[in-house]
Amino acid sequence: MLRILLKKQIFELLRGILYDKKHNTMRSGGAVAGFIALFLFVFASAAFAFVGMSVALSPLFDLPDTKWVFFAFMGTVAVVIGVMGSVFITVNSLYHARDNDLLLSMPVSVNAILVSRLLTVYLMDAVFVAVVLFPSTIYYFIHVPQTALTVVSAILFYVLVTLLVLALCCALGWVVARISTHVRNKSVVTTVLTVVFLSIYYVIYFNINTLLSGFVTNIVQNGVTITPLLEPLYRFGRAGAGDGIALAGLAVLVLALVALVGFLLNRSFIRIVTTSTAGPRSREELTTEKITPVRRALRNRELKHFVSSAAYMTNCGIGLLFLPAVGIFSLFKGPDLTAALDKAGLIHLLPGLAATALMFLMSTNDITAPSVSLEGKSLWIAQTLPVRPEFFLRAKLETASLLTLPSMLLSVVLLSIGLRLSWLDAILLAALGTATSLFLSALGLALNLRNPDFQWTNEIYPIKQSMPVMVSIFGGMGLAIVVGGLCVLGGFLFGPVFGQAAAAFFAALLTLVSLLLRRWIYEKGAAQFAQV
C-alpha cells in the first residue's frame, strides 16, 4: 500500500515538470531540461550566499579544535532555513490535501498516508538543507584536509540534519494545525506565523555578516570556551566534523525525535483533518443580506479567495508586507546609504538602485499567476453565471492592483523620504512601480490563461510549483535587474538625467505592454476561460 501511495506522491511531484497538462502529453526533453536548468539556476544562486558564510568562517579552519564550529554554524543555519522553508508546506501537505478524505475512506493506514505525504516534505527539506550544506561543505573540504571517515561523517551529518528538519517541521506543523482547529480564520493564524517566521529570517539574513565576522574574530582572538549552554551545539558540530560518539549521539537523538513526532502525528491526524471550527448561523443573521454590484462581488470573490488561503497569501503576496517594510527600513538606514554613495560620488545612482529594489520586491507579488488554476473544479460556476468571462478576469486584475498599488505607493513615499529623493525621482519611481504592477499582474494572468491546471489535489501546486508562477516571479526579478540596471547604468555613464529618462521610458513601455496584454486577456484569454 505504501508503495502505491509513494508512487502517487512522486507522480504528483513530477507531473508539473514532466507532463504538459494543456496538450495532455509528456513534455519534450527540451522543456524538461529547461525546468531542470531553472531549478539548478535557483539552487546555485541560493547556494552562492552560503559559500560566502564558509569564506567568512575560513579563518577558523587553520585553528586547532575549532573545526566543529563550522559544522555547528552551518548545520544550525541549515536547520533554520529548512524549517522556515518547509513548515507550511508540511501543514499543507499533511492536513490540507484534497484527497485526505478519499484516502481516509480507503483501507489505508494513517501511517501509510503520513509517510507518503512526508516524502514530498522530506525531499523539499533535503533540497533546502543541501542548498546550505553542499556548497559550503565542499568549500570546507577543499581547504581542510579530509579522510574517508570525515567525508562519510559529513554525509551522515547531512542526512541527520534533513531528518531533524523533517521532525521539527512536523512538530511545528502539528502545533500550527492544532491552533488552527481552535480558531475560525485559520488562514490568518498561518499567515501571521509565516510573517513572524519570515521577519525573523530577514532580521538574521541582514545581520548575519556582522554577527559572523564578530563571532569569528572573537574565536580567533580568544578561543572557545564550551559552557554548558554551548555544549549541545558543540556536540552537534563535532558530529559533522567526524567525532563518532557525537555522531552516534546525534543519530539517536534525531531518530528518537522522528519516532516521537511520528507517534504524535499518527494519534492526532484524523482528528485534525476532520475538525471544523465555524459556528452555526441564526435565522436572524439572514435579515442582514446586502446587495453588492456585480463587479464588486467578483472582486470580493477574488479577495475572499486570497485572504482565505495562507499559502496563497504568503507565496503570492508576501511582497505586500515587504514593500512598506523596506520603506520603513530606509527611514533608518537610508541616511547611511546616501552618505556612503555621496562619499563615493555616486549619489545620482540612488534613484536607479531604489527602482531596482522596488521592482525586485514587486516580483514577489504574483497574485494573478495561479488565479485561473485556483478556480479548480468550481470553474463551472464562473462559466454558468450570466457574466461575461472578461469580467472575471478583470476582477482578478483589479484585485491584484487594489492589493499591490497601495503597498507599492506607501513604499515609494517611505523610500523617497528615507533616501531623500527629489520630487521628480519620487514621481518616476511611483510611475515605474505602477507600470511594473500593471505589467506583472497582466503577465501572470496571461500565463495562467495559457497554462491552466484545474486537476490539482493540493492548492500548493498551482500556487508554488506551476509554470506561470515560476515565470512570473523569476521573470519579474529578471525585469527588475534589467530595467533597474539600465537606469543605474544610464545614470552612471551619462548622468542623472539619462537615468530619469530611462525610468520614464521603461514606465511608458511597461504600461504599453501591459495594455496590450490586457487586450489579449479580455479578448482571446476570455474566450479560453469560457471554454476551458
Partner: protein, 234 residues
C-alpha cells in the same frame, strides 16, 4: 423554452452526442435518461454554455447559447452532478455572491434564502465554510443558489444523488412549483422510479443518439419505465 436541434459533440474520434434534437416547453419537467457515458452530461453542459459543441443549435426562449450566452444564462440555472462550490466561502457568502451576480434584490434574496434554507434544514449551517459541508449539504446549497434568481429553466445533472429522503421530497416540490409557474426543468437521472413519477416528458439516449422521446405515456405505454429502458438499452 429549450430547443436543441441536431446537437453534435465529438471528443477526439468519439461522438459523445450525435445529432440530438429535443424540445422542452414551459411547464414541463423533462427527464433525460441513459446509461453511463451515454452523453447526458455532455448535452446538459452544452445547454448551459460550458461546453462548445461541433454542430447543431441550442435556443433558450429563442436565444442562441452560441451567439448570446449571457442572455441565455440569465434565464437558466445549472446544478452539476458533483457540485464543487467555492470552498473558501461560507454557505451564506456563496448564496449572496450568486444573488449579487443575478442582481437579486435584498428583500427577495433574504426571503428566498430563508425559505429554501429552512426547507432544507440548512439555515444553521450557512455560516459554516463550504469546505466543511457534506456532499448532500453542498447539493442543497447548489439547489438554493440555483433557485435564488427564480430561473425560467433549470438544468440538473443527477439532482437527487446525495440528498436525504426529505430533501429529495422538498426538491421535487420545488421542481413542480417552478414548472407550475411557467418554468421548465431538464434533468438527468438514473432513478427511473423518480423519473416515472415526476416527469411530464422523458428522453432516452444511447451512445449519444436519442432513441426514444415523448410524454411519459408515449414512451412507456403500459409498461414500467424501467422495463422500457432495459429493453431499449438491450
Amino acid at each position: 423554452m429549450l430547443d436543441i436541434s441536431h446537437l453534435t459533440k465529438t471528443y477526439g474520434s468519439k461522438k459523445a452526442v450525435d445529432d440530438l434534437s429535443l424540445h422542452i416547453s414551459p411547464g414541463e419537467i423533462f427527464g433525460f435518461i441513459g446509461h453511463n457515458g451515454a452523453g447526458k452530461t455532455t448535452t446538459l453542459r452544452a445547454v448551459t454554455g460550458i461546453l462548445r459543441f461541433d454542430a447543431g443549435e441550442i435556443l433558450i426562449n429563442g436565444t442562441s447559447i452560441k451567439t448570446d450566452p449571457i442572455a441565455c444564462k440569465k434565464q437558466l440555472a445549472y446544478i452539476p452532478d458533483n457540485p464543487d462550490l467555492y470552498e473558501y466561502m461560507s454557505g451564506s457568502k456563496y448564496l449572496n455572491f450568486v444573488a449579487d451576480v443575478y442582481g437579486v434584490g435584498a428583500a427577495e434574496r433574504t426571503e428566498r434564502i430563508r425559505r429554501y434554507a429552512d426547507a432544507f434544514n440548512l439555515t444553521g449551517d450557512l455560516g459554516q465554510p463550504i469546505s466543511a459541508y457534506s456532499h448532500g449539504m453542498k447539493q442543497k446549497l447548489a439547489t438554493i443558489s440555483a433557485w435564488i434568481h427564480q430561473p425560467k429553466l433549470v438544468i440538473m445533472d443527477e439532482p437527487f444523488v446525495g440528498l436525504d429522503p426529505k430533501a429529495s421530497h422538498i426538491l421535487k416540490g420545488m421542481m413542480r412549483e417552478l414548472c407550475d409557474n411557467g418554468g421548465a426543468i431538464f434533468f438527468s437521472t438514473h432513478v427511473l422510479e423518480v423519473a416515472e413519477k415526476l416527469c411530464d416528458k422523458v428522453a432516452i439516449i444511447k451512445q449519444g443518439r436519442l432513441i426514444r422521446s415523448g410524454t411519459m405515456d408515449e414512451v412507456k405505454g403500459d409498461d414500467s419505465l424501467e422495463d422500457v429502458f432495459l429493453e431499449l438499452e438491450g
